[in-house]
Symmetry: C2
Subunit: 339 residues, 2 copies
């Protein structure tokens, strides 16, 4: 599939409506292989489910994971003017430099996972509009950010992680969740990088105000993304959609990544069938987003860093699942008696 195949939200929606499905024969073959391996049936637990799921998306009964990619998108948010973050907005650009110099957590996690890390800083000098006062992005800005994500996917990769950096973006994610899933702003805001009680109350007030301001247009999930999102959230959505088109399995990261992915799920049922939840973060609402998405997290380690860090840590679990599935001997091969 060529790059940049959409130039409007309507075209993006059309692509989403024609998403490919997994290969049923590969899944069946993988299931049969799993049953023949030298272990009691089901003894590898979720690793077995992951293997069969992955085999379906890759269209092979016994694949391996050899070329993971971690994409980190960075964006700045006008809403930081409302005092919603514990860190100043300049940290977004400073952390991008830290990624480029290899000093961040995600650098170490990618090295360990054998994953290629690619960082896209998206118009950091042009923050989105303060969404408590105006739509965060114009349609063309949103389409451009979606396309940045779409085009960033290396189509030779066999497992994708999307992560983010953007001071203020837990407030954006909370607003998106409030718009998509309902409830009160208080249900979806959290401490992010570490706001105090007053900061938390301020985040809830900003989100409530934005939901009231934008009104009925928020019934359309892509308009939710445009009005309340950020460039890095849109880019993650674009990359996850592209991965689907290329049948590249995806590991979702934390709250912000999951909120961006939720826009796709709300746009098209089943849009995240090629995605696993890498972890559940300590950001309070993430657990609820995963519940809404029907995704059980692979890890629960109290992480809340973003950068794709939780999902990058989960790469090894998917690798392990396929290493066992595709590398183990069968009962016949090993001469082991069955039960």
């Amino acid at each position: 599939m060529p790059t940049t195949v959409f130039s409007s939200l309507a075209e993006f929606s059309e692509i989403m409506a024609a998403m490919p499905q997994p290969n049923a024969q590969a899944q069946t073959d993988a299931q049969a292989r799993d049953a023949a391996l030298t272990k009691p049936p089901g003894a590898l637990g979720r690793l077995e489910d992951i293997s069969i799921w992955y085999a379906g998306w890759r269209g092979e009964a016994a694949p391996q994971v050899t070329s993971p990619q971690v994409l980190v998108f960075a964006g700045n948010h006008g809403v930081v003017a409302q005092g919603v973050s514990a860190f100043p907005a300049e940290v977004t650009a400073q952390m991008v430099m830290n990624f480029e110099q290899g000093g961040a957590a995600i650098n170490q996690l990618c090295d360990l996972a054998g994953a290629k890390l690619t960082v896209h800083a998206i118009d950091l000098d042009k923050p989105t509009a303060d969404f408590s006062l105006a739509p965060a992005m114009s349609e063309s800005e949103l389409v451009s950010a979606l396309a940045t994500g779409w085009n960033a996917v290396d189509t030779s990769t066999d497992l994708l992680v999307t992560g983010e950096m953007g001071i203020g973006n837990t407030t954006s994610a909370a607003a998106i969740c409030t718009a998509l899933f309902g409830g009160e702003a208080e249900d979806w805001v959290g401490r992010g990088t570490g706001v105090d009680d007053a900061g938390l109350a301020q985040k809830a007030e900003v989100v409530s105000k934005a939901i009231a301001l934008h009104g009925d247009i928020l019934a359309d999930p892509l308009q939710v993304l445009r009005h309340l999102g950020g460039r890095e959230l849109a880019a993650m959505a674009g990359a996850i959609a592209r991965a689907r088109m290329e049948k590249i399995p995806v590991i979702l990261d934390g709250f912000i990544c999951s909120a961006a992915a939720a826009v796709l799920a709300a746009t098209q049922a089943g849009a995240l069938d090629h995605c696993l939840a890498g972890h559940v973060s300590a950001e309070a609402a993430h657990k609820q987003v995963l519940k809404e998405l029907g995704k059980a997290p692979l890890l629960s380690l109290g992480m809340r860093l973003g950068e794709g860090s939780g999902a990058a840590l989960a790469i090894n679990i998917v690798k392990a699942a396929l290493a066992c599935h595709s590398g183990m001997a069968t009962f016949d091969q090993a001469g082991v008696s069955e039960s």
Copy 2:
């Protein structure tokens, strides 16, 4: 420390009573380093706790994990004559051959983790006595199995996993837990490699009978291991004790490994302070053992294979923790503004 430093259970107990403690200065230094890294405080969750804990045991403020070892011990159990397993006893030796030929799950997981796998088949042609009728081992048999584990640890390793293979050994582990922690046999038996309801009831009956048979001698934890254990359980206990003497951190595997480790904890308070719980298995009672040991598992993926598989999968999490801790830039180094 030289190999084979004990020749009786009394001497083993003496060694246990003089276990080394972690280096407090290294822990303090690691805590200070953690606070300076380019992330919000606490944002790496349990990875931060693991790093500081690991630094203490290794006596270095910023160590890495470079040489993990996975030890798998295999033993046979006389109690299989009571019909407690879904697989025949010959599978123990067949699986040892599978380990040696590289066909088992643990082989794939060790390759992925960069861990050295060492397999010790312990007197497979001499099953322990049926513990529902007699003590499983003599004192000299137990001392010999403890020494096998003790001597199997490569002292140049910096992270140890102990795993096992032994048809019938979930029944042995359930009996040990009943003796150590109390409650009914029904609370501690589970489906193991896959027994049906009748098999499960039979396991509970066998365990109840054994507890009644051996009586008061089970007040001594090492006698619990001798009367109800197996050679591979004793070897795991010996290896975990040796790791403590060498200040090598350990990742515990599933129910059987945890039951063996629990013998050490019951012998000497704090005996497992150098151990993490790698995962919680699907074997029902494992969760309860971990609660008794005060260990929160790193992974919960429904695995129940043994072989050290869950702990081997968790090696990457410990590696990741130290890779972040020791590899990340500080706020000062990266020129990132603090909150």
